[in-house]
Structures are given as structure tokens and as C-alpha cells.
């Protein structure tokens, strides 16, 4: 399997480097779509190789391929981000960027890919976050969990030896929440665990208008109008 991986890595690197050339807002939309299709073909190869690694119980190769999968998907997410920005869909673009950040961070946990600067790519995505998008306001829930299970062995999470976020034979361990006992609060924070939880709008006066937090455009808030219509009248 090692030989197969050694032969695969130069191909992987070539496609990744070619795709990175199109990770700019100025690139033509069709060129970026073609890059996404090329990466998707690469992902099919990665999936097949990972299956072979797993069947041969080669954890090192399986985790390397998991990391490669994450990098490839991170690039797809970044390319999609540019598409959404060009389409005037900045909120979707933001979510795609955060997907890319999460994926590259996951690739770092899974395996240090030889010849690929994963940390450098992670830094680049953070720069995009701060330069392309306005500062965000995040929400962070606080809750009480009951039973949680391990996604790898399906046992109760506290009873096995798998650690959430780590890679095992090509798969990340996830702590799966089976029971939420209580929702405690929702806070506004500057550093959330999940940057997708953003404030999307703020109300503008009492006339059912809201301002989109990303575009700063004012729009009619249909949900607010509905709430106002159903509001009990004061006695």
C-alpha cells in the first residue's frame, strides 16, 4: 500500500497546486467550476485508495488519505465561496469559507501531508475571513448533555479509548450526543466553537424592517411582520 500511496501523492499534489491557482475572486466562474470537477475526480481516487488501506488494516495510509480528502474538500469549499460571492450570496459564501477552515484543521489532525503546507493554507483562509467579510457577531449555546456515544466503536463515549477529533483507520472520532438534558443560554461571543452561528440580521425600528448583517441592506422582515400580526393585543 505504501508504494501505491507514494505513486499517488505526486498526482494529488499536482491537482491541488493547479486548483490553488484558481482560488482567487478574479478567476472566471467556469474556470473555477472546472477546477471543482477535477478535484471531485481526485476525491473518487482518494476514496478508493482509502478503502484499500482500510481492508489491509494500514492505518497510517488510511489517515493520510483522510487528510488528503479533507484538503481536497477544503479547496472545493473555497472555490464554492468565490462562486457564492459572485452570485451575491455572501452568507452562503461565509459558510463555505468556514467549511474550508474546518476541513483544513481536520486534515492537520489526521495527518501531516508531505510536501503540502496545511498550516499555511489554514492561515490563508483566516486572512480571507478578516479581509473579505465584515466582522461577525457570533452566538454560542450553552447546554447540558446526558449520554454521548463514540462514532467509531458505538460504545458510550466515556467508556472507550477513542478521542473525539482524532483519526482512526481513516475516520474521525465524533462524540455523538444522544441526549440534551437542558438548554441553558445563548450568548453573543467573539470566539465561537462554530463560526457558522452568526447574527444574520438586526431589526430596524418597529415597521417590520431588518438589516442584513452581511450586506447591510435593509429588507422587509416577513417573519417579524407575522409575529406582529399574531401578537396578543394589550388589554
Amino acid at each position: 500500500m505504501k508504494k501505491t500511496i507514494e505513486n499517488f501523492l505526486p498526482t494529488f499534489k499536482k491537482i491541488i497546486v493547479e486548483s490553488e491557482r484558481h482560488c482567487y475572486i478574479t478567476r472566471n466562474r467556469d474556470v473555477q467550476k472546472e477546477a471543482i470537477e477535477k478535484i471531485k475526480k481526485l476525491l473518487a481516487d482518494i476514496t478508493e485508495l482509502k478503502k484499500q488501506s482500510i481492508s489491509q488494516k494500514d492505518e497510517d495510509s488510511a489517515n493520510l488519505l483522510l487528510s488528503a480528502d479533507c484538503v481536497a474538500n477544503a479547496l472545493i469549499s473555497e472555490l464554492k465561496m468565490y462562486g457564492f460571492l459572485k452570485n451575491g450570496e455572501p452568507s452562503k459564501a461565509w459558510c463555505s469559507l468556514i467549511d474550508a477552515e474546518d476541513l483544513i484543521n481536520a486534515s492537520l489532525r489526521a495527518y501531516n501531508l508531505p510536501g503540502f503546507n496545511q498550516e499555511g493554507y489554514a492561515r490563508k483562509l483566516i486572512y480571507i475571513e478578516h479581509v473579505v467579510f465584515p466582522p461577525q457577531t457570533f452566538t454560542s449555546p450553552s447546554m447540558v448533555w446526558g449520554k454521548t456515544d463514540c462514532s467509531i466503536c458505538k460504545q458510550e463515549y466515556g467508556k472507550c479509548m477513542h478521542i473525539a477529533g482524532e483519526a482512526y483507520m481513516g475516520e474521525f472520532c465524533i462524540e455523538i450526543v444522544q441526549e440534551i438534558k437542558q438548554f441553558l443560554s445563548l450568548s453573543l461571543v467573539s470566539h465561537p466553537a462554530d463560526k457558522r452561528r452568526v447574527l444574520t440580521s438586526i431589526s430596524e425600528g418597529n415597521e417590520g424592517l431588518a438589516r442584513d448583517y452581511m450586506t447591510w441592506k435593509i429588507y422587509k422582515d416577513e417573519k417579524f411582520s407575522e409575529l406582529q400580526k399574531n401578537k396578543p393585543k394589550d388589554k
Partner: protein, 168 residues
Amino acid sequence: MMMENIEIKESINYKNKISELKLDFPEGVVLLPNSIDSATDASQLMFDAEYDTVQKLLKSKGIEVNALSKDGGFPKIVNQSFEWAGPLILFTSKLISENPEIITTTISTITNYLINKLRGVPKGDNSVNLKITTETQSGKFKKIEYKGPVEGMKDLADVVKSVHEEND
């Protein structure tokens, strides 16, 4: 007493507290809920979300570690902010005398895990909140709270050891 990112203060006697809560005192490195200080009943205790992970990490390095427990277990409180918050870690004098390297080994295991976990996160944004309590030579307990980037944890073990050596 304050050093950069580290605050040291007097704390309650956890041996007495655990007994008051009618719970058994665990062996080895002890993981406690951060809410234990103010709890008047075991039903009020909730572990921080990362205590399972910390327990597994330490066990994987051959460290004897046990979380405070009761029938039915304790629920976990999850604050989904970015800061990594660990459980309260307790070192008794007996444990340290039996294994003088236990403080260093425990803290370095957690530090190495966090360095890997937070690799893609900008240095200014990675944030750790870890509380450790140690029994001193005079039988008191002191709490050492670290709040800062993972890179700053390199001196934490020495601080905990020097607090343990206190005899006032």
C-alpha cells in the same frame, strides 16, 4: 498571586468536600467538576464537556486517572465557545510522593494534545482554560488557574510543583 496567564489562590479542602457530598475519593490523578466548590449536593454537579477526553488522554499514557463518579454518572455542561476548558485536575500529596513526575507528565500530555488540536488556529485565537488544584506540604489545597494560549502552558507544571512544595 498572578503570573502571566496564571492565577494562584487558596481553595477549599477537596478531600473534605468530596466526603461532604457523600462520594468516594478516587485514586490517582483526580478529575473534578469545576462546579464542585459551590455544590451542596452531588445532584448539583456537572462535569465540563472535555473531562472524558482528558481522562482518556491520560489513561492512554499509562497515568492512573479517575473522575469523581456516582451511580448514573454526571451530566456534562457544554459551552460552545472557542475556548478549550478542561475539568478541575487534583493532585494529592500522596500521589505526588509516590510519583514525583506525575504533574509534569499530566500537564505535558494535555499540552501536546492541545498543540495538535489547535494547530490551524491563529496563535492569538487559541485559548485554554485549565484549573489544577494541588495539596501543599502543609495539607492545604491551592488552585492554579491557567487562561491563555496553548504555547503559554510550558511553565505550568513548574508552577504547580512549586505550589505543592509550599509549607505554610
